[in-house]
């Protein structure tokens, strides 16, 4: 049973990874990565890492993927697949060489544990209780460092992605306040007839002030 589940999850993970690399549209790449992450969470469960699997689904497939989807929707656009002809051929060759090298290293390592099914299972292995215990005792320093790193990354992202030159021109026009001028409050030049008076008809503000004419009507209507 576990072998069947392993092969299903492994094929899912690898096909998801291939999809990430091969898809032309970045949006489909993100979706393929989400599929890959869920398959990987199944592999983690088979390795008895419950908490890591749950964190994988919640943090990665949940939060990080949403961030990706938002940025892809904001930036958008499909891209051409490869750069120059050299990297297009050399890249997969390099990846293949790396895969062969890693397989040779693992097969030739002679580690006894690699060819076994792992250590005997202890009850409670990989539960949040054990992980939290380790995080707050043996690995307290990495834990605190990770929280500081998250804070730094959040501030850094805000600083990087913020607007630098104030508002865009049309947005500035929308924010400019055009104050209405009541009648008979003109300038001296207008009083002397040198300039046409601008205060005859007060300019109506674009936004109706709350609580004047229409506001009262709705208040009476909805006052129950």
């Amino acid at each position: 049973m576990s072998a069947v589940l392993f092969f299903i999850a492994a094929i899912g993970a690898i096909s998801g990874a291939i999809g990430v690399v091969m898809m032309r549209n970045p949006f489909y790449s993100v979706l393929a990565l989400a599929f890959h992450l869920v398959s990987l969470a199944a592999l983690f469960l088979l390795l008895r890492a419950e908490f890591v699997a749950a964190a994988q689904v919640v943090v990665y497939a949940g939060a990080v993927m949403v961030l990706y989807v938002f940025v892809v929707a904001y930036v958008g656009g499909g891209e051409q697949l490869a750069s120059g002809a050299v990297l297009r051929i050399l890249g997969p060759l390099f990846a293949l060489a790396l895969a062969i090298e890693l397989c040779i290293a693992m097969l030739g390592a002679g580690l006894k544990g690699v060819n076994s099914r792992g250590a005997p299972f202890v009850l409670g292995f990989g539960t949040p209780k054990h992980i939290g215990n380790l995080f707050l005792t043996k690995y307290l320093f990495p834990f605190e460092l990770a929280s500081i790193l998250l804070l730094v990354a959040a501030i850094g992202a805000v600083v990087l992605a913020r607007r630098r030159r104030g508002l865009e021109p049309d947005e500035q026009a929308a924010y400019r306040v055009e104050a209405p001028r009541p009648a008979y409050t003109g300038t001296m030049a207008e009083a002397a007839g040198l300039r046409p008076a601008g205060g005859e008809e007060p300019l109506k503000p674009e936004v109706e002030p709350v609580g004047t004419t229409t506001g009262d009507a709705t208040q009476q209507q909805g006052d129950w």
């Binding site: 993970a13 690399v21 890591v52 060819n115 099914r117 380790l134």
Partner: protein
Amino acid sequence: MNIGWYLAVSAIIFCIGAGGVLTRRNPLVVLLCLELMLNGANLALVAFARMWGSEDGQIFALIVMVLAACEVTVGLGLVVAIYRRRLPIDVDELNELQG
């Protein structure tokens, strides 16, 4: 299943990610491929934790997840900044720091 199978899958995922980083031009997809490489490493870490019967490898995997989240945040911030400046979203054309 032997632990070796899991290590083989993690090696394959890592290599697919490395190939993607080399061949793709869109920085968004390059970031996704970096995620693939980190996930391959994560799978190996969790597999070794299972092999030894201790949870230290899982702690390591969780820290790697935090690192990946930070990297994604900063990377996506950079992509948004590139887009705001109307620069081409293409890692081959953004080569000012290449010297």
